[in-house]
């Protein structure tokens, strides 16, 4: 560390130019940075459920449906003409694969002994025809309640979209196309639409969050240093770190999603603490009469170890996310770890180089001067004496309690949960759930001989029983199509009694319309079919239970007649993600804690110190999960990061430990050492916590509910780690680390 600072003070321009060059090189990657929040960005590509979904998409076209509800008087010439124009317009939107509405529905019925197969809406629509059309639709099992609401006040436009598209653009163009022809309110929902809303919110949130985080951090820095330099220097280092990490992400082709969008705030908040510590010390040394180069060297030497350890710990905690199977979290971990390490380099190289070039400030203020906060710390040190046992017992009780609550945590991965209650996507989804019985879709793939009447009947029975579930709106498959054709041909609902009859009825359907129409229900060789089950948007746990019930039902009804029955769809995929999140959580958590303990133990050359050093962190993490369990805050894609980030922000302990060990080495009795360490480092810990915690509060401005929750939990995290570092840690040190005979610790760094 000292060598670094010496180099920086001797060759400040080289250091600055080097940083500038790398910033330009990596920064040019910024323009390559892309956004993506599709379900795919959450799913490992080799996941069996993902492969199945891809297969199904390939076979039946898109499996993802967006639904638009158009409010207005549907059963009128104007209404139906507007719907026709809107349907045609939206079919022309790039990325829309298939559109279904009353406007392009078919009518197949028997009239005077003839088989009538024609478009539901005649080319020239007259008011006199409307009652007939309405009557037909209201008695059609595939249309009633699906394409138009029972009261005739909402028309549905079902859109199958290409999952590889930019959903934000798609949302906008779909809405524009519909609005150009439909005058009433339009509500858009379904997984692809929610994906688009998420992308949109994210891109709008990002600059706001960054600005607010920078502002809050600047404010805290100003409170601490009372100087422009004290504000700008840490901001310079973290901005550099941010440019490097986002630029690297651009070059590596990473895509930012709703999770990774918190990256800037993490780097800003965590990274600014490093420079804060070093600057603190620098001003302190200057105030004590040291000349500038000496002050820089001393500052880096004295605080460098602490900064190094916390940077490595933060890096390790974030890098541990690389073990996650969720691509978005993986990328986030890598880039955040990289950003934090760059912030460390900035603090120990760039900041000293800039300081070496600047003249001394005219008015010197020692940030470590005794003020209200350091007096408080001093008092705290006194108060701790004789209470160590009590504190440790309280900590143990807290730990047990939190672990107990943590067992109640629910996992949540539904896209709807991203949105606050009154946000437009949520309103649209709830409306569509209510009016059309569901905005979400599950896909059941049935493999077997689909011309076998027994299998068709089984599928129909499954659908009927599925629809009896309160959360299921409709279930549609080739069985309904054949049943409808059969009725038209024979006059009564039922199924053909032989394979030949089924094949011929299918052929009739194929001949009567667009073959693509059939392709979405069944493969051409009739060896596989898909059942589309429209369901309400549900929280993950309820959705999982529903899928489970439907699976049992399919097992009982369809499976005996089919070769295979499989459940898929984006929603099913997100349930898989839910399982992955839970599993990853344990892995990354344990890995991160072990890594941090290991670093601390290695750098401080004592296993026991290493173990004690993770105590505040362990308690904080237990507290996070305990709170989530107790208050019903779900573990979702955002809150899944909380533990890893806690490690990144919460390693203040090391500053206190370093000071404590240093005092012991100088021969102080443990109690005095503890008091001095609190007095000297406590103030810095307090302001760092304020800067980091404040920075994270910027995420309260997010348009996503999970990220808002995340911000609140971060508030707890930062406060708790600071509190534990200032109380439990000294108590533990006094109990378990009373002797330390090693060489000067700071020198080792």
């Amino acid at each position: 560390m000292e060598a670094l600072s010496r180099f920086a003070t001797r060759h400040p321009w080289s250091v600055i130019l080097l940083f500038l060059a790398i910033t330009l090189a990596l920064g040019s990657g910024l323009s390559r940075l892309r956004f993506d929040n599709s379900p795919e960005s959450f799913v490992p590509p080799d996941l069996p459920a993902k492969r199945l979904l891809d297969e199904v998409r390939d076979t039946f076209g898109s499996a993802d449906m967006a639904i638009a509800a158009l409010k207005g008087e549907v059963w009128s010439v104007e209404g139906l003409e507007a719907l026709r124009a809107a349907t045609e317009a939206v079919a022309g939107v790039d990325g829309v694969l298939r559109v279904t509405s009353l406007a392009n529905a078919q009518r197949m019925e028997e009239a005077d002994g003839d088989l009538v197969i024609e478009d539901l809406l005649p080319e020239e629509l007259t008011p006199a025809e409307i009652p007939g059309i309405r009557d037909y639709v209201e008695h059609h099992p595939l249309y009633a309640g699906r394409l138009v609401s029972p009261d005739g006040r909402y028309a549905a436009v079902i859109l199958e979209v290409d999952p590889g598209q930019d959903m934000k653009r798609l949302n906008r163009e779909i809405l524009n196309a519909l609005k150009a022809h439909w005058k009433g309110p339009i509500y858009l929902s379904g997984t692809p639409a929610l994906s688009g809303y998420i992308l949109d919110t994210m891109q709008r949130d990002l600059p706001v969050q960054m600005a607010v985080a920078a502002l809050i951090i600047a404010l805290v820095l100003y409170l601490n240093f009372r100087s422009t330099r004290g504000v700008l220097l840490p901001l310079l280092t973290v901005t550099t770190a941010l440019v490097w990490s986002l630029g690297l992400g651009g070059w590596l082709g990473f895509k930012l999603g709703s999770i990774s969008s918190i990256l800037p705030v993490v780097v800003l908040a965590v990274g600014s603490s490093f420079t804060l510590h070093i600057l603190n010390r620098f001003y302190h040394e200057l105030a004590h009469g040291e000349d500038r180069p000496a002050a820089i060297r001393l500052a880096v030497r004295e605080t460098g170890l602490g900064v190094l350890v916390s940077a490595l710990a933060a890096g390790a905690g974030l890098a541990a996310l690389y073990t996650s199977s969720i691509p978005q979290i993986k990328f986030f971990g890598v880039l955040a770890a990289f950003g934090v390490l760059v912030a460390f380099l900035g603090a120990s190289l760039l900041a000293p180089a800039v300081l070496a070039l600047l003249r001394n400030p005219r008015r010197l203020l020692d940030p470590e001067r005794p003020d209200a906060i350091s007096r408080l710390m001093f008092a705290l040190g006194d108060w701790l004496k004789g209470r160590t046992r009590g504190i440790l017992v309280a900590a143990a009780v807290f730990l047990l309690l939190m672990v107990f609550f943590a067992t109640r945590i629910q996992v949540e991965t539904s896209f709807l949960a991203y949105f606050p209650k009154s946000s437009p996507p949520r309103v649209a989804t709830e409306l569509i759930d209510r009016v059309f019985g569901g905005s979400d879709t599950l896909t059941v793939v049935v493999e077997g001989n689909l011309k076998d009447p027994a299998l068709l009947r089984a599928i129909y029975r499954f659908e009927e029983e599925a629809k009896a579930q309160p959360a299921v709106g409709s279930a549609v498959s080739i069985a309904d199509v054949i049943r409808e054709i059969h009725k038209t041909l024979t006059g009564s609902y039922g199924f053909p009694d032989s394979e030949e009859a089924a094949a011929q009825e299918l052929l009739l359907y194929q001949m009567s319309g667009d073959p693509e129409e059939l392709a979405r229900f069944i493969t051409e060789d009739a060896s596989a079919a898909q059942i589309t089950v429209q369901v309400r948007s549900l929280p993950s746990s309820q959705m999982e239970a529903l899928v489970h019930r439907l699976k049992d039902l399919a097992e009982a009804t369809i499976a005996p007649h089919a070769d295979a029955v499989k459940f898929t769809g984006t929603t099913v995929l997100m349930l898989e993600v839910m399982r992955l999140i839970l599993h990853d959580q344990y892995v990354s958590l344990i890995l991160a804690l072990v890594l941090v303990a290991l670093f601390n133990a290695l750098l401080l050359v004592s296993g026991r110190v290493g173990a004690v050093s993770v105590l505040p962190l362990g308690l904080t993490i237990a507290g996070q999960f305990g709170l989530m369990g107790a208050f019903g805050i779900p573990l979702d894609t955002a809150t899944a990061l909380i533990a890893a980030i806690a490690i990144g922000v919460g390693d203040y302990s090391v500053h206190i430990i370093v000071r404590y060990l240093e005092e012991l080495r100088k021969g102080a009795v443990p109690e005095a050492a503890a008091r001095t360490s609190l007095y000297v480092s406590g103030r810095a810990v307090f302001f760092t916590a304020l800067a980091i915690g404040g920075g994270f509060m910027a995420l309260l401005f997010s348009g996503f509910a999970p990220i808002q929750t995340f911000a609140k939990l971060m508030g707890f995290t930062v406060g708790a780690t600071a509190l534990f570092a200032l109380t439990v840690l000294p108590a533990a040190l006094l109990t378990w680390v009373r002797r330390y005979r090693n060489k000067e610790v700071v020198e080792r760094a």
């Binding site: 197969i117 011309k451 009859a501 094949a503 073959p515």
Partner: protein, 254 residues
């Protein structure tokens, strides 16, 4: 300046080369004689985007007398639809269609427009099949776009846009016509400004000593779904008398 002169020269040259107009090309295509009767087998291969194939075999009879067009199609394979028959009798603008499904043992009249419907579940629509050789030149604005040479044969490339008021499935067609025999070899169909389907007439055979040029192998590919249909006509017999009893319900059921 030089460029300007070259450009002008090229334009003049083009003007000379394209002496024939789009309308003339399409009128010549329309003027080609078509057989009064046709009987043969049709092998229809449906190929989906994964390359999976499904074959259907049909027998086809057609007859043209004045403004009456009759067509009967019977499925020979696959086994489960064997015997399914489709009869179409068109008199002027009026079309009568009947369908026989052997499993139901009844002939049903089909009402409603089937023009846009799929021809026997293929990528061809009834319209595509019906208009194959007889795109009514006067209904379209035909523009000769360019000339091409392919395998030593000169081709006219004509763009046909339906005239206002003419009802048509597509908003534009681009047709490659062989200059030697005036038979289309490739047609691109555009819908809403986007390429929708492409038909390739891969094999054109001449019958009755060159009087008729009949496509015996043609492919229609749906560009969007990447699904295609290959249609092969076999054992074709042209202008041989077909009795009217073929185009009846009784014959359908046989």
């Amino acid at each position: 300046m030089r460029k300007g002169i070259i450009g002008l020269a090229a334009l003049l040259f083009l003007g000379v080369a394209l002496a024939i107009t789009g309308d003339e090309v399409m009128q010549k295509v329309e003027a080609r004689p078509s057989p009064k009767t046709l009987h043969g087998r049709m092998v229809m291969t449906l190929v989906n985007k994964q390359g999976k194939k499904l074959t259907r075999e049909l027998e086809l009879w057609s007859k043209e007398e004045g403004d009456v067009k009759k067509m009967l199609i019977k499925f020979l394979a696959p086994a489960d639809v064997k015997g399914t028959a489709f009869l179409s009798i068109q008199k002027g603008d009026k079309q009568e269609m009947k369908l026989y499904l052997p499993a139901l043992k009844r002939v049903r009249r089909i009402a409603g427009s089937q023009k846009k419907g799929s021809f026997m579940g293929s990528d061809f629509s009834y319209d595509d099949i019906a208009k194959l050789g007889s795109l009514k030149a006067k209904d379209f604005t035909n523009t000769l776009k360019k000339e091409e040479t392919e395998g030593g044969v000169k081709l006219y490339v004509v763009e046909a846009v339906p005239k206002p008021g003419v009802e048509h499935t597509y908003d534009r067609q681009v047709i490659w016509v062989r200059a030697d025999i005036y038979v289309p070899v490739r047609i691109e169909f555009y819908k809403k400004g986007k390429l929708y389907k492409v038909m390739t007439l891969e094999k054109i055979e001449s019958f009755a000593g060159g009087k008729y040029q009949i496509p015996t192998r043609l492919t229609m590919e749906n560009v969007r779904t990447r699904h295609k249909t290959v249609l092969e006509q076999k054992d074709l017999k042209l202008d041989q008398p077909i009795p009217d009893s073929v185009f009846t319900e009784r014959f359908m059921k046989r």
